[in-house]
């Protein structure tokens, strides 16, 4: 039985179709669900085993990226979300979805309404679309099982992706950092454009303490086929695209539970 994946969308969501496909390719049964359908009780989050908030510009990223959707979720779907998380179901936030998870407080500490970190404007002052190297740290994150220590290549595409938090918060979440922007040797870096937005401690993605909630700025759904790699013609062959591995891990986790 395929795990049901809720791909949550709203006005301005725009990476929903490819995210749907990525989960389907990984063996999930993905459905596009508009936030209104949850608000109006036409759909229940509890009917799904995986929740993903895809990339895009929800409500135009007005005020702050992902903020308006975060306010909507905390105002109307707080209980459903808490139930989903406490049920131990995986939650994934990609790019704008990461911004939403941070602005709801689900990341880093699963405390809805408590915002302790921020994703702010890129140091470059503008949108950045390029492929980056990502060092996978050793964490309890279920999405990166078996990838720890590897250096992956994935694309970023955002204007507000700089990971920012106070010193003590950074120390508190040290063990939850899943991805760091790195140079070609896999060493975390602050130098632009390898670190495309100036993120503190080169943080590109984090999970919650349980490892069930992952948020990241890069786009794994854009690398689930070999022909999506910008230089696929240069390789004789390569294994499973790392983007696909991330989705497979989530699906496998749900199946094995």
């Amino acid at each position: 039985m395929k795990p049901k994946v809720c791909v949550l969308r709203t006005d301005g969501t725009n990476c929903d179709l490819e995210t749907c496909y990525a989960f389907a390719r990984a063996g999930g049964d993905s459905r596009l669900i508009h936030v209104n359908s949850l608000r109006h009780k036409e759909e229940k989050l509890s009917d799904y085993q995986i929740l993903v908030i895809p990339g895009g510009f929800s409500y135009g990223d007005d005020v702050h990226a992902g903020k308006i959707l975060a306010v909507e979720l905390t105002s109307f779907l707080k209980e459903q979300l808490e139930e989903f998380i406490t049920a131990g179901k995986p939650v994934l936030g990609i790019c704008n979805g990461f911004q939403v998870l941070v602005r709801t407080g689900i990341l880093p500490a699963r405390r809805i309404g408590e915002i302790s970190i921020a994703l702010v404007g890129n140091d470059s002052g503008h949108f950045e679309c390029r492929w980056v190297n990502l060092l996978v740290e050793k964490t309890p994150c279920v999405f990166t099982e078996g990838l720890a220590g590897k250096c992956l290549r994935l694309p970023v595409a955002h204007a507000e992706g700089k990971f920012y938090a106070g010193r003590e918060t950074l120390q508190k979440i040290a063990g939850q950092v899943v991805f760091r922007y790195a140079d070609e040797y896999g060493r975390p870096t602050q130098s632009y454009p390898l670190n495309p937005n100036g993120s503190l401690e080169a943080i590109g993605g984090i999970c919650d303490p349980t490892g069930l909630v992952l948020g990241l700025m890069p786009h794994p759904e854009r690398f689930v086929e070999h022909s999506q790699h910008p230089n696929w013609r240069r390789f004789e062959s390569f294994g499973e695209p790392p983007g696909l591995a991330i989705f497979r891990n989530a699906v496998r986790y749900v199946k094995e539970r």
């Binding site: 209104n36 990339g55 510009f57 105002s75 854009r222």
Partner: protein
């Protein structure tokens, strides 16, 4: 509420402006800039404002806020910049929504703006004024807020409809009426006068506006349909020539040409693909950000409005500007500086495409000082749709007309008529209302709704509200049937619009659907769920009349016959004489290294990567070839490849070509070059010429006899090209207003033909990229060229001359070359392929080296003149890195030459007849090639 970043947190907005102040304005006295967001609310008290600040506006992690108090302290000066009242701030709606979600029901209105604090001793008011005028405020849409507004609510009472007594006006008065408003000529004004004389009444303002925009060049292409007398002999009208060629070619894959909002060709299985390319010069010239945004929004709606609705899968952008370093005093009055235009147009394309989630992955920027009066801004879009819903729909009597999407405001009034007029000193002030700020999220959710309704088979016909607004959308949809419109039902952004303003307003993000009565409820339901406003505004009838009422008053009642066929066909004279361009006699260069670097650093050769990095070209997960690839992701590819059907390997190829310079010498050969370049770009990545189609865009000076003569030659070139290659034009657009007039100067912007090509490929794996793959491979130059044909080249330009002996593409040979290259790539025999264009073989070779991180050596034939051989720009030629296979077999029967090999050393070495001519470090070439745009975009 004022929100500012904490002192320890950087302020990228402020830093970017500071950079531009130093870069663009050269002002040194300003040391620091801090910015704050200002949010104004009406209808709530202090405690609610605090709640909003804490829950929505300011994030304590990195921000601070103040309430009714300044946030920027100890600055020399603080300037607040806001949109003018009536210019819709897209953020306002989000503020209202979030406030509602937070339970604040009493909030009536909200607005946001930005404050800039200037720090530094010895800043003087003039400098700050300069910064405001040049960087912070575009007076067309923005203003400096002197004092806090009394209210945020725009009030007004609707004006009444007026009769305009034109039946007794004389010629002079008719022209007065037309000027700056209708942009019609005397003959056309007389036709209108006669119509109302025969029906025995005067027109309403609404009727006159309706006719003016329906008859505008922008909407009916009078020039392209005119009877044409060329050098005394009558020739087939321009548009007819293109359409006849397409009809004769009768391409088996073409499903719809020249009839719908875009051209449609067959894809694979049950799918079709479509393409449309638009120009948006006039609005972009006076408000580049808003103009470029609405340009993108408009062309996306053309795709969305094709058949019964198509999904947009790609966006392209082609620009022509004056050089960014053009001295300010050379910019004509009423025109904006190219440096500002370039950066703002790019920002507009970026913000619309990125937010809609449409990859912008093919484009180009061209520079020529004659664009200083008016830029050329071309935006294209491509889509995918089911084959069984790809034909233009026809409304049936009884179908209802739904307007869906954004609300109507006083935006873009006279956009259609204005964009057909010439640019003058008065343009900016008179037509300020003709641009607006686009709202991509509105269009995104509208497109979500349309695609869902389309998939459910609920749409009978669809078209976008572009130029001319409701007037053109409903007028055209109802042309065969007739339509009855209740104007008072139109949802408005604010009250106070006159009926004719509602009728012709060009507010963006609106479309009109024809829906069978029994399906209306379902469509409205879909729209509600997706937060899209939809309103039944009219009904299609059978009386072939356009009848519009506003409440109790009849504002328009015209016969469709007159509206669509009453326009007198123009008779235009054209003649063309080859301009007297001298062919220079250049000495052989002595400093090759320096020359090579200058060619690579020429504005029309240099890397445009900083622009591409700001466009999301990977969204939709369909990219099969990025605009910049290679080991350092900085080497250009020739075209874009997309795999729009997830999990399938079939691909769409998209490319383009244009060259304003050659058209100044001879528009026939210049246009052939553009078409050949477009197709060569596609074939270089593997496209099959037999499964590729074309789109034309003519951006031409006002069609006086001479310019029209040039246009006639350009169209002949397109027709000859289509016939010779079998590639039909299936969509096109012309914009014939690239002339600038002021009291003392008349400036003709260089005529531009942009040819776009798109097609299908069965397998993404049968394609190629431009980056060299390995050291030691053979390099082959494929295609026919005469190196002496150097006119219009970058090499000549650097020598300060134009020349007359321009590349004359051989239409007998070209098709065979294209086929051979396609076959070789499809067979996997080619490791890398790049087409030769600006900068010639030398630039092509360097770019391929950059991509592979490899060097190369080439050996020029003994008899060749080395500079011409290296820098000739004949389109339709390729440099190929050969994998396996014998070139004699691969390229049998076509011109080809073994020119050299790839090398591991990071340099390019050029020999002639075995003797070394010069060698160059790649590093130097790359720096020269990357510098120019880095300077503009930081």
């Amino acid at each position: 509420v004022r929100v500012i970043n904490r002192p320890e947190v950087p302020d990228p907005v402020g830093e970017e402006i500071l950079y531009e102040i130093k870069q663009a304005l050269g002002i040194r006295s300003i040391q620091k800039i801090r910015t704050a967001k200002v949010y104004r609310f009406e209808g709530i008290g202090e405690s609610e404002a605090h709640l909003l600040a804490q829950k929505l506006l300011a994030e304590d992690v990195f921000q601070l806020y103040t309430l009714n108090a300044p946030a920027i302290e100890e600055a020399r000066a603080v300037i607040e910049v806001a949109y003018k009242p009536g210019v819709m701030n897209p953020e306002a709606a989000s503020l209202l929504k979030a406030a509602r979600d937070l339970g604040l029901s009493s909030l009536l209105a909200a607005d946001s703006s930005r404050e800039y604090g200037f720090y530094g001793d010895g800043i003087n008011p003039e400098e700050i004024q300069t910064v405001i005028n040049r960087l912070l405020v575009n007076p067309t849409v923005e203003q400096v807020v002197a004092e806090k507004p009394a209210t945020l609510i725009i009030r007004g009472v609707p004006g009444r409809t007026q009769l305009l007594p034109i039946r007794d006006l004389d010629a002079q008065q008719l022209l007065e009426l037309s000027r700056d408003k209708l942009f019609l000529n005397l003959e056309e004004m007389r036709a209108i006068q006669n119509y109302f004389r025969t029906i025995g009444r005067d027109p309403t303002d609404c009727e006159l506006e309706t006719i003016a925009q329906t008859w505008s060049e922008h909407c009916v292409h009078k020039t392209f349909k005119a009877r044409l007398i060329v050098n005394g002999e009558e020739k087939t009208p321009l548009l007819k020539r293109l359409q006849q060629a397409t009809a004769e070619i009768n391409h088996p894959l073409v499903l719809s040409a020249f009839v719908d909002n875009s051209g449609v060709m067959e894809f694979y299985q049950e799918w079709a693909i479509c393409g449309k390319v638009e120009t948006h010069n006039s609005p972009s010239a006076i408000e580049p950000y808003g103009g470029a945004m609405t340009g993108s929004g408009g062309v996306f709606r053309d795709i969305l409005g094709t058949g019964q609705g198509a999904r947009v899968i790609a966006s392209t952008d082609m620009f022509c500007f004056a050089p960014p370093d053009t001295p300010r005093e050379e910019i004509p009055p009423g025109c904006l500086h190219p440096d500002y235009l370039l950066r703002r147009v790019v920002a507009g394309v970026r913000d619309y495409g990125n937010r809609m989630g449409i990859p912008t992955n093919n484009g180009s920027v061209h520079f020529h000082r004659d664009f200083r009066a008016k830029p050329t801004v071309i935006v294209g879009a491509y889509g995918i749709l089911p084959k069984d819903r790809c034909k233009k729909g026809k409304p049936r009597p009884g179908d209802l007309a739904l307007v869906i999407g954004g609300r109507t405001g006083r935006d873009g009034i006279h956009g259609a008529t204005f964009s057909s007029g010439e640019m003058t000193e008065r343009t900016v002030e008179v037509n300020a209302s003709a641009v607006q700020i686009g709202h991509p999220i509105e269009e995104k959710r509208m497109s979500d709704a349309i695609l869902e309704a389309s998939a459910a088979g609920l749409i009978q016909a669809i078209t976008d509200c572009g130029a001319g607004g409701f007037s053109s959308a409903l007028g055209e949809m109802g042309a065969e049937t007739g339509v009855r419109v209740w104007l008072e039902r139109a949802p408005l952004k604010y009250p106070g619009l006159k009926p004719w303003e509602i009728w012709v307003s060009e507010s963006q993000e609106r479309m009109v659907l024809a829906v069978a009565p029994e399906n209306v409820a379902e469509v409205l339901k879909i729209c509600r769920r997706l937060n899209v406003e939809a309103t039944v505004m009219g009904e299609f009838t059978a009386d072939r009349r356009l009848v519009v009422t506003y409440a109790d008053e009849k504002v328009c009642d015209l016969e469709m016959e007159f509206l669509h066929h009453g326009l007198p066909q123009r008779v235009l004279r054209a003649s063309w004489k080859k301009p007297a361009c001298a062919e220079p006699a250049l000495p052989l260069p002595d400093d090759w290294a320096n020359l090579y670097c200058r060619v690579m650093g020429h504005l029309n050769v240099c890397s445009k990567e900083p622009i591409v990095r700001m466009y999301d070209h990977g969204v939709q997960g369909s990219s099969g070839l990025p605009p910049y690839g290679g080991i350092a992701q900085d080497a250009p590819n020739d075209a874009v490849l997309l795999t729009p059907l997830y999990g399938r390997e079939c691909a769409v190829v998209i490319s383009h070509g244009l060259n304003p310079v050659l058209n100044q010498i001879d528009p026939y050969w210049g246009s052939l070059w553009a078409a050949a370049e477009a197709v060569a770009n596609a074939v270089a990545v593997g496209a099959n010429p037999k499964e590729t189609v074309l789109i034309d865009n003519f951006i031409w000076p006002f069609p006086d006899e001479e310019s029209l003569g040039a246009l006639d030659r350009a169209v002949d070139a397109c027709v000859d090209f289509a016939r010779a290659t079998g590639m039909p034009f299936i969509s096109g657009k012309d914009s014939l207003s690239s002339t600038y007039r002021s009291k003392d100067i008349v400036l003709k912007i260089p005529p531009v033909l942009c040819v776009s090509a798109f097609g299908r490929l069965p397998d993404i794996n049968m394609t190629a990229s431009a980056d060299f793959k390995r050291a030691g491979s053979t390099l082959i130059l494929v295609g026919k060229r005469n190196p002496a044909e150097m006119a219009g080249s970058v090499y000549y330009d650097l020598a300060g001359c134009l020349g007359s002996n321009l590349p004359q593409i051989d239409l007998q040979v070209l098709p065979r070359v294209l086929q051979a290259v396609h076959r070789a790539i499809a067979a996997g025999k080619i490791l890398a392929c790049h087409d030769i264009s600006e900068g010639g073989l030398a630039a092509c070779l360097a770019e391929m080296c950059f991509g592979g991180g490899l060097g190369a050596e080439i050996d020029l034939p003994a008899e060749a003149r080395p500079d011409f051989f290296l820098f000739n720009e004949t389109a339709g030629c390729f440099l190929v890195e050969l994998g396996e296979g014998d070139p004699g077999e691969l390229f049998a029967g076509i011109p080809y030459l073994r020119v050299g090999a790839t090398r591991p050393e990071q340099q390019i070495t050029v020999y002639q007849d075995g003797k070394e001519l010069f060698r160059m470090e790649l590093k130097m070439l790359k720096e020269a090639w990357q510098k120019p745009m880095q300077k503009v975009f930081g």
